[in-house]
Amino acid sequence: MTVHASSPHAASNDHVPPSMLDACVAGGEFLTFALSEEEYGVDILKVQEIRGYDAVTRLPDAPAHIKGVINLRGTIVPVVDMRVKFRLERADYGPTTVMIVLNVGGRVVGMVVDSVSDVIRLSDAQVRPVPDVGCPIERRFLTGIGTLDDRMLILLDIERLMASTEMGLVMEEAA
């Protein structure tokens, strides 16, 4: 529970129900993926499928990290590029570029990453709190840092991240 204490979201004024705060702390199974040189992890239960990157249809009036929409077996699914969102240097599309299709909060979203690594299980003890460093990802979207041998995994609260207004996937709520 140290993660809670060190992250500022108790004070932050967002609309995520409190029940979700507990859902994404501590250990569990994570799908790990690479963005540039960094390794990230998301709750495996939020992942619907993994597929290659398709040509997208661009959307008007969308921020740069929203690449557009694709047809996923008849459903229109928006695609975000996490490399653009996290302001990483390279964001090119090659044969290994993959898309993780997430099912978060009743919505289906595609997330472009450089590559998908594996699924790992982390115990509570292996999840360490995020230290106070300035980074482009807001602290409330990080649940902790997973340690596995010499690998360091940045664990994302993907549900909250995708539901946040700054991702631009949902309508800004009227103030």
Binding site: T57, L59, P60, D61, N71, R73, I76
Partner: protein
Amino acid sequence: MDIRQFHAAFFEESREGLAAMESGLLAMESAQDDAETIHVVFRAAHSIKGGAATFGFTAITDLTHLLETLLDEARNGRRQLRDCTQGNAIGALLDAVDVLRGLIGAAEHGTPIDATALGRARAALDALLANTSAAAAATLGTVATQTAGGRWQIGFHPAPSLFRSGNDPLRILRELASHGELGVTCLDERLPPFAQCDPYEAYLAWDLSLPGDVPRAAIDEAFAWVEDECELRIEAVEPDAPQAIEPAPDAGADAETPAAKPLRMRASDHDNSIRVSVHKVDALIDLVGELVITQAMLQQRSSSLDPSANAALLAGLEQLSRNTRDLQEAVMGVRMLPVEFAFSRLPRMVRDLAARLGKQVRLTTQGETTELDKAMIEKIIDPLVHLVRNSIDHGLEMPNERRAAGKDDTGTLTLTAAHQGGHIVIELHDDGRGLDRARILRKAAERGLPIADNASDGQVWDLIFQPGFSTAEQVTDLSGRGVGMDVVRKNIAALGGHVELRSRAGAGTTVSIRLPLTLAILDGMSVAVGGEVFILPLTAVVESLQPLAQNVRTIAGEARMLRVRDDYLPLLDLAAFYSLPQATRRAAPGANAAMVVIVEADGQRLALEVDELLGQQQVVVKNLETNYRRVPGVSGATILGDGRVALIVDPNGVAQAQLLSAAA
């Protein structure tokens, strides 16, 4: 078995029954009923009572029983519902229908029932019923005396399979007992020893007797559901003395003929329809949409094949294409309902409103059978209710004013629905005073709305759709607060339709609503814009043309306009509007390689610049907001033959956004 799983069906059926009762009663009140009307009303009450009894909703059963008794008297000619000397029977019945609706809602949501309303309704019905005996004695004709004193002998021998069809003989007996003193003899010869008893089989039979004044139709009705599953013998037994000149069975047979026929008709109606949840239908429509897309993809791929080497394959694909289209039409048809579902809400409202305002109003409807998508019907009800309310409140005059103007005291509202080339047009016409041009202009001036002095009538009537606009001299609780016409227009625009007003002073006003038949499929024109494909709704497209450089003009060097014949239309580059990279055509100024599509949106015409016209096709509309958010100027998305997503342009949204950016 949990009986509660059938509650939802009961509530829904009961509501339909109440709607049928209401419309029947209103028809009777306005003397537009026929011989069948009273039977329809009676049957509706009867099946609600039966259902409520089965599920143990006693409050509903009791009230419906009173209703039914009254209706039964009317049905047998012992009571004239329209006859004012016997009290305002129809008014009381309508009130009872309202109370019933409340009771059903209470039963459905488990909320407490409105005891005062229930008590009032019961008292009214009781008073009417008490009135009968005296009146009935006078009006009772020879029919009753013929059978008076006689008895019905009923032999009821259920088939062993009776329980399997969900029938309960006890319920039938109870129902018969409600008509009069029931004599019951149970015949248990067929009952096997207990150890061999199969609980699923019906072994018992009954000999029943009822007083002769119970109508034959009521007895038939009680057995309507088990007719095919029992041996039924109904005989009239005369009293000892042959007091009737005409034999009683004849009277029974006479009563049977008209009543029994509709009964059978209804039974077959039931057999031919099933109740399916909308979700299932929508899932089916989605699947067919997928099939259409796949079929289009195959079609596209096959176009590159050598026709002679692949003749059989191509013929098969052609066949597939036809079948897919037929299937799609058939599935879409499942969602279509007659517009009557929307219209049937109105007569009651008109009646109550007219009574409250002291006006006389006659509502006539035409084309109720015109079919429209269920989703559209639900969304059109509110605007219609609003328009009808407006017409009665503002449009129609008081009887004395009407007389002074040489019109019939009773104002007429006409509601029509008709198909017009892929659209449905719903028109509401009143023969009231019409719109007052001068007053609207005065109001517009007060509110500072811009309007030319020489504006056409159409432009003036359009002002009514402005937010907050009302010409009512005084605000009533009905209308006049100026909330309304703009909402009506917005709601209808959201359905892809539009509203128009036509009016002549002294002769009345017509509101015309034009709607697409369905929301799920759209006829579109596909255009290439900035490397993407967009779909323009064909209903909005007026024409497309290749603009000449000298026809493109600017105002203040920025706002671009296109001269089309003698009109100047705002010219909008769709690629720039959607912030897409522009094609090279801008590189060479004056070289207008682009095409222009002129669309009608939000009451004005707009010229949209596109790169290329690709073709026309039917597209299945997909919601973009399921997984994303609303995008200004985009109404949805669709999937093209090659599996790619194309956005559907919302011309109204584009027009509004364009105005906003111009104002900024």
